[in-house]
């Protein structure tokens, strides 16, 4: 140990010197990085201090530091709470549907755009599908509520043309998930396709030319060149998506759900919101949030490891 001690020290010392040299040489670049670091510290790291209330009997008057420790009591409460488990199940089911239908949608869209030869038609179509992304969730929810309205909504009007009774879509639990997932696809698939279009643009054009000379048609080129070439991007996006499995779009759920559909629509985030902010049980809500984060962390780590093992592609 004594032999290695000085070497370790000098290596660490060298590393510091190198870092300071880098900072001096490229200070402009580090300066540009600073706002992002500050944002992370203020909004993502500092709040972690408050996570300890998940293990405390938190009181606003006593503050985070002075509230007494209660160990895992809140987690036991969560475990015994049927509504929490219903929210967890709903979150997983909605996320699974999102993954199944919402994840491939932008990929399919990008592949379709790539096949469009007419430039002006392509540009127009792209603009139309990108637009919903820039509309506030409140407006999106308003459009959905109007479209599915039993009295004047376009969907029920169409149903009426076939002589059928109107369906109360937004008050029936079985309709919440398809409407929610469909809305998400409508809102984000277009914008999400940009990443895949960029990946497609990066595919070496001579691969296609070589395939053309070899006799491949467009369908074969899509399956044998485009999709395998953008697979690393697809996997990276999938890992990110899996990391967000427990983060179902809170805004849209809260705007579209109502007590009548809680059976299928109440997700962990909305449950945390109701418990934490509306019922004042901040400690229990913090425990649920922490549970959420741990599940997401495990999922993203597993997805990353699997992807690295099987496809040599990983986030880190």
């Amino acid at each position: 140990m004594s032999e290695h001690g000085p070497t370790h020290k000098s290596t660490r010392h060298d590393r510091w010197i190198r870092l300071i040299d880098h900072l001096r040489a490229d200070w402009q670049i580090y300066l540009m990085l600073l706002p992002t670091i500050v944002w992370f510290l203020v909004f993502l790291y500092k709040p972690m201090y408050g996570l300890q209330i998940a293990f405390k009997d938190y009181s606003i008057f006593k503050g985070v530091a002075n509230s007494p420790w209660v160990g895992l009591e809140h987690f036991h409460t969560l475990w015994d709470n049927d509504q929490f488990w219903r929210a967890v199940t709903n979150t997983i089911k909605i996320s699974a549907l999102n993954l199944l239908f919402g994840f491939p949608a932008p990929i399919i869209l990008a592949l379709m755009f790539n096949e469009v030869m007419n430039a002006s038609y392509k540009r127009t179509a792209q603009t139309i599908v990108y637009l919903p992304h820039f509309i506030s969730s409140v407006i999106i929810a308003g459009i959905v509520i109007t479209a599915f309205s039993p009295t004047a909504g376009i969907i029920n009007t169409l149903i009426g043309w076939f002589g059928l009774d109107p369906i109360y879509f937004l008050t029936q639990p079985e309709w919440f998930r398809p409407i929610f997932v469909g809305t998400g696809i409508w809102q984000e698939a277009g914008f999400g396709s940009i990443v895949f279009l960029a990946a497609i643009a990066g595919v070496n054009p001579s691969l296609y030319e070589s395939a053309v000379v070899d006799g491949a048609n467009r369908w074969q080129m899509m399956w044998k060149i485009t999709i395998p070439s953008i697979l690393p991007t697809i996997l990276i996006m999938l890992i990110i998506r899996i990391g967000n499995v427990m983060e179902v779009s809170f805004e849209l759920v809260i705007l579209l759900y109502q007590p009548a559909t809680y059976a299928t629509s109440d997700v962990v985030n909305t449950w945390v919101y109701r418990q934490g902010l509306q019922s004042g049980q901040y400690d229990l809500a913090a425990a649920a949030g922490l549970f959420n984060a741990i599940v997401a962390f495990v999922l993203v780590m597993s997805a990353n490891t699997l992807s690295r093992r099987f496809s040599r592609t990983s986030l880190w």
Partner: protein, 364 residues
């Protein structure tokens, strides 16, 4: 096997014409190299033969069949690309099998074909590797293997060696030559490297600005360039060009008269450009040579020979000289001797060689 015939081929992008009606006949089993500077239209011409670019006007026939409107896959050509165009997600065997699978060749036959070609190209140990795990030379061999397994009528090569380092390029050049001798497939090869063109070609097509400057065997082009462009393009270092005026038996260059071959005699007063190959001069006088005084700037030793960079009037010249193991004796060189029979003369106004014109005039 098949010949390729280009007749008045034109390529335009909108109003911009980039290939101006070229005519070229590539005979069966011939290895023809299109060479020229960047932007001269050589790759566009090759891509038109492959079917990757539409032909604006003219006729293209392969094996006596007009193929202007025939899809690339039905032209029975195989192309080797500059950046190899290997599918990164497929291993070597799968890359080579790609075209055969598309054509629905039976699996057993694909395997046999790939094994045979891999053996020829020395790729057998690498069949299960992906392109990322191969060296540049190996990737290039895979790209060639992918073309060979198809047994096409015509091979098209688009600067296939330009991504390789100098040593590997020399090796691969020899391999391509050997392969062509063995397979005897009609080949059209595009390069901007005149050494590649000289070493590989049965015939060289020198292109410039969308037109063909000259077609001929490497030695024909080297010894009898049709114009100053061809003369300057082929040969390394390129031919030295010095402006001058013809006299009765020679040419006057900035006050110095040198002797010329008999074909140039009797045109006194004509303004010309005199071309002297760097390797044709000697440091001592020989029969029929004329001394040319030079101001030596630099001696670049290359081993057995050295490059002498010098000035003659306003012209910058480069000559080759034997070192005989030492360059000390070269630093004092103040004149070189130009052999009359090896000097080329071009018309100063048109840049065209006087040699052919004189011969034609005499024959006429």
């Amino acid at each position: 096997m098949a010949g390729v015939n280009l007749s008045s081929i034109v390529k335009s992008y909108g109003a911009l014409q980039v290939v101006h009606g070229i005519d070229l006949e590539v005979a069966e089993k011939e290895f023809v190299v299109l060479v020229g500077p960047s932007g001269c239209g050589k790759s566009t011409t090759l891509r038109m033969i492959a079917g990757l670019e539409e032909i604006t006007a003219g006729d293209l026939t392969i094996d006596d069949r007009r193929v202007n409107r025939v899809a690339p896959k039905d032209r029975d050509v195989a192309m080797v690309f500059q950046n190899y165009a290997l599918y990164p997600h497929l291993n070597v065997a799968e890359n080579m099998a790609f075209g055969l699978r598309i054509r629905k060749m039976p699996k057993e036959q694909i395997k046999t074909t790939i094994d045979d070609v891999a053996e020829v190209l020395g790729l057998t140990p690498y069949l299960q590797r992906r392109p990322a795990d191969l060296s540049g030379g190996q990737r290039q061999r895979v790209a060639m293997g992918r073309a060979i397994v198809r047994h096409p009528k015509v091979f098209l090569f688009d600067e296939p060696l330009s991504n390789l380092d100098a040593k590997l390029r020399t090796q691969m050049r020899a391999e391509i030559k050997r392969l062509h001798n063995r397979l005897g497939v009609t080949s059209v090869y595009v390069t901007h490297d005149q050494v590649e063109a000289m070493t590989l070609a049965d015939r060289i097509v020198v292109m410039n600005d969308g037109a063909i400057e000259q077609v001929g065997t490497p030695m024909e082009l080297f010894n009898h360039p049709a114009n100053t462009f061809v003369a300057g393009f082929l040969g390394s270092p390129p031919m030295n060009m010095v402006p001058g005026v013809l006299t009765q038996t020679g040419a006057r260059l900035a006050g110095v008269e040198i002797g010329l071959g008999a074909q140039y005699h009797g045109q006194a007063g004509r303004e010309v450009i005199v071309g002297i190959r760097p390797e044709h001069v000697t440091l001592t006088a020989t029969q029929d040579s004329s001394p040319l005084p030079i101001a030596l700037d630099l001696v670049e030793p290359l081993g057995s020979e050295a490059l002498l960079h010098a000035h003659f009037g306003a012209a910058e010249l480069v000559f080759k000289a034997e070192t005989n193991g030492d360059i000390a004796h070269l630093s004092g060189v103040s004149e070189v001797h130009v052999p009359a029979g090896l000097v080329k003369v071009f018309d100063a106004a048109t840049g065209r060689a006087l040699e052919g014109q004189t011969k034609a005039a005499k024959e006429g």
